[in-house]
């Protein structure tokens, strides 16, 4: 049991913190919320140059070949800074999906482009049902032709769909819920792929994407035909663990911001941080942040070591999906009216928490995994 960070991990954390403080302040985050694309090429290219996109991409494909533990440490920082752009969709979801299911050709071509910052990816999974279950893939179909596949249907909640160069599309190719899903790599500029923005309260860049008779070559299949759910299940684990890391980092930020505020805000002639009511709020936040960080790191470590992380991911996501929004709510309570204003930054995190707690399974879904694992 070694709770400490390795030298490499400390280096990643410190350099990321420094870079983000300088290049990704809340003014930038706010500007990007209003921006059509949602990020700037300048920052994206810097992120690529820092090697963040290919952090867990094997060295043979141009990445740094690090483990998911290291990526999780980075995600704590990007979560804290709310880094705009398709970083999570690319460096976590795209990279893991390609690593897990990609053919040698797909990996050597796409992973190296991804690591260089020349391929942004997004996952097109949800449909009208919008749950994280195989049944959610129902009306989006793929029909095999002589030289490829024809895709038809509509996808919702495609995060970073508008910014992506390539989509990972889950389509129904068979009747069995789990064994009837196939994944396709579809370029967003393909003919008959249309996209419209789905504005969310989280400002997390969702799109509705429609596919009308979109033909793709045979080589665009990712993994096995009808074997898509197995891949997705694994990708969702990385997604859930990654979101936990973001929430762990953002939770610490909420705590720091709150501690700073209550030390300086004076009422009744003293800093409000000297009042027990406020101190107990702050202590509650600190406890939840501490526990959440440990759960998130444990999940990332299990994934990084290639161990079965089913329980560890479920424990972390079930906890952080509840505790992080609670930490945000307590931060607001301690800030009083100022924290409720648009001008004050607090809402930037609070609004994102809604999306983060739902992403890759909400509390209930992960609790069900835990109940199953207890043999109930």
């Amino acid at each position: 049991m070694d709770i400490g960070l390795s030298e490499t991990q400390q280096l990643i954390r410190n350099s990321a913190r420094e870079f983000l403080e300088e290049n990704c302040d809340t003014q930038y985050v706010r500007a990007m919320e209003e921006d059509e694309v949602g990020h700037t090429d300048e920052l994206w290219n810097q992120v690529a140059e820092l090697g963040w996109l290919g952090l867990t991409v094997p060295e043979e494909y141009g990445g740094a070949g690090m483990s998911f533990s290291e990526l999780a440490i980075l995600l704590e920082e990007t979560g804290s800074a709310m880094l705009p752009g398709p970083f999570f969709s690319t460096a976590v979801i795209g990279a893991e999906a390609l690593k897990i299911a990609g053919s040698e050709e797909q990996k050597s071509e796409l992973l190296s482009k991804l690591a260089e910052g020349k391929l942004k990816t997004a996952l097109a999974f949800h449909e009208t049902g919008a749950s994280w279950t195989p049944e959610s893939v129902s009306e989006m179909t793929a029909t095999e032709t002589e030289d490829g596949w024809i895709l038809n249907g509509e996808k919702r909640f495609v995060q970073d769909g508008a910014a992506a160069d390539m989509l990972i599309v889950a389509a129904r190719t068979g009747e069995e819920a789990k064994n009837g899903i196939t994944l396709f790599l579809v370029e967003t500029d393909s003919a008959n792929v249309d996209s419209r923005e789905l504005k969310t309260t989280s400002s997390d860049r969702m799109s509705v994407m429609s596919f009308g008779e979109v033909s793709v070559p045979k080589a665009s299949v990712l993994g096995e035909v009808n074997g898509g759910w197995d891949v997705l299940e694994k990708v969702f684990q990385y997604g859930a663990a990654g979101k936990c890391a973001e929430m762990a980092g953002a939770g610490q930020k909420m705590l720091d911001t709150t501690v700073d505020y209550v030390q300086n805000r004076v009422q009744f002639g003293r800093p409000i941080g000297s009042f027990q009511a406020i101190q107990h709020h702050a202590a509650d936040m600190a406890i939840e942040v501490q526990a959440g960080r440990q759960l998130a790191r444990q999940a990332a470590w299990f994934l990084g070591e290639g161990l079965d992380a089913t329980r560890q991911v479920a424990l972390a996501k079930a906890y952080l999906s509840e505790s992080y929004p609670r930490v945000c709510a307590t931060a607001h309570q301690c800030h009083g009216a100022i924290g409720y204003t648009h001008e004050y930054d607090l809402h930037l995190w609070t609004r994102r928490a809604t999306g983060q707690r739902l992403a890759f399974g909400d509390t209930k879904l992960h609790q069900e995994t835990l109940a199953d694992s207890a043999g109930l």
């Binding site: 049991m1 070694d2 709770i3 400490g4 960070l5 390795s6 991990q9 533990s69 705590l255 501690v259 209550v262 030390q263 003293r270 800093p271 941080g273 000297s274 009042f275 027990q276 406020i278 101190q279 107990h280 702050a282 202590a283 509650d284 600190a286 406890i287 501490q290 526990a291 440990q294 759960l295 790191r297 444990q298 470590w301 299990f302 560890q312 424990l315 079930a318 906890y319 209930k364 992960h366 609790q367 069900e368 835990l370 109940a371 207890a374 043999g375 109930l376």
Partner: protein, 391 residues
């Protein structure tokens, strides 16, 4: 970063489990340590643990320990808690020992610690007083210096196990004029010294666990003082950090949740289905599963900090808060699972799971109060951990 024990530690865990399986009765499910029967069994196991060299595992060898690493101690504590095996004397092994290692004289260590390691003595702790609970530094037990030692007058309360103890360590006021934190000293005393009287206090669960301990002109020798005179508050505070770090809560919790899962599977609810199929009950299991994991990892963090030479402080308080709240939640859940039968305690003919959980619901009330209330610990996190100004 590594969220797993080493092979060596896991091997040791296996060895401890094998030994416990061998030593504990076949139908073993824990014992009420406050009862006479429980006390006899506690002493029996303490002797066996001492013979095995495990009683004071992490102490240095010269004082009767094995010099084991913190993590090995963690593994051991987890298994002892999981198996509900009594024998570890919390006051002496977890608190007095580590404190004397830092603040005691060599002479004190050599005379006081080996009997603990051999499992021959019971210690109790004299901190709280009738008028000094959470505001511990306001304590009034008076200790005056004499020609050949000290004379003690006053009273301690909530002294767990004082009625069975051979020794007590306590805080007393040695300077009436100094500010309250700076007039306190740390002492040890033989409980058989004339003038010490132990009065039982029966708790709401019907057990005799703690006492009021009265000191009337109790003469103790010069070397009863530990560390510097008037610096006892700071010694006592280190000791509380040792007291609060604990993996026993999560290990105990894991055992309880397993026991309750088994019960829920076998028990048929009003709708004819087993309780384990009830979505609300499944949900509660999952929540407790998460709570146990939080308590476990935060306790590991505390142990890890100690293992690398850092002094856990707000982390230890967080661990204590999480662990004790967990115990209360588990007790409540275990009681509720029994439905109407949940009001039946130990000894009742219809009691499910030996009436353990209704009893635990009563005993666990004290967990968030003893050794620093949840509120005091939150204050520590806020002021010492987060740097918020004192009120």
């Amino acid at each position: 970063m590594r969220y797993a024990f080493t092979q060596d530690e896991e091997d040791f865990r296996g060895e401890v489990r094998d030994w416990l399986n061998e030593q504990l009765p076949d139908d073993w499910n824990g014992i009420d340590e406050d009862s006479e029967e429980g006390w006899d069994f506690t002493r029996l196991m303490r002797g066996k643990l001492a013979d095995k060299g495990w009683l004071t595992l992490a102490w240095p060898t010269e004082y009767g320990g094995e010099g084991a690493s913190f993590m090995k101690q963690v593994v051991f504590n987890e298994e002892m808690a999981y198996y509900r095996c009594p024998g570890i004397d919390g006051s002496a092994i977890k608190m007095l020992g580590p404190t004397l290692m830092i603040h005691g004289s060599e002479e004190q260590r050599r005379t006081l610690l080996p009997p603990v390691a051999r499992g021959e003595v019971e210690w109790c702790q004299g901190y709280s007083e009738p008028d000094s609970g959470s505001d511990l530094a306001s304590l009034q037990l008076r200790v005056d210096e004499t020609d050949d030692g000290w004379v003690v007058n006053g009273s301690k309360i909530w002294t767990s196990m004082a009625h069975r103890s051979d020794w007590i360590f306590f805080l007393g006021r040695t300077n009436q004029d100094a500010p309250k934190h700076r007039g306190i000293s740390f002492f040890v005393a033989d409980m058989h010294t004339p003038g010490i009287e132990v009065r039982p206090i029966v708790n709401m669960a019907g057990s005799h666990h703690f006492n009021q301990t009265i000191f009337e002109d109790v003469h103790i020798p010069k070397d009863a003082l530990v560390g510097e005179r008037d610096r006892g508050w700071y010694i006592g505070a280190t000791l509380l950090d040792f007291e609060r770090s604990g993996v026993q809560y999560s290990a105990n919790g894991r055992r309880i949740l397993g026991e309750l899962a088994q019960f829920a599977k076998e028990q048929v609810g009003a709708d004819g289905r087993s309780l384990s199929e009830d979505p609300q009950i499944r949900n509660q299991f999952a929540e407790l599963d998460v709570d146990i994991e939080c308590a476990r990892l935060v306790a590991y963090e505390v142990a890890w900090m100690q293992s690398v030479g850092q002094v856990p402080n707000k982390e230890a308080s967080a661990s204590k808060i999480l662990g004790t709240q967990l115990m209360q939640k588990l007790a409540k859940f275990g009681t509720e699972l029994g439905g109407m039968y949940g009001m039946l305690g130990p000894g009742s003919e219809y009691a499910p799971i030996d009436g353990k959980y209704p009893k635990m619901q009563l005993t666990s009330v004290s967990s968030t109060i003893a050794a620093g209330t949840t509120e005091i610990n939150k204050g520590i996190i806020a002021s010492r951990g987060l740097g918020l100004p004192r009120g």
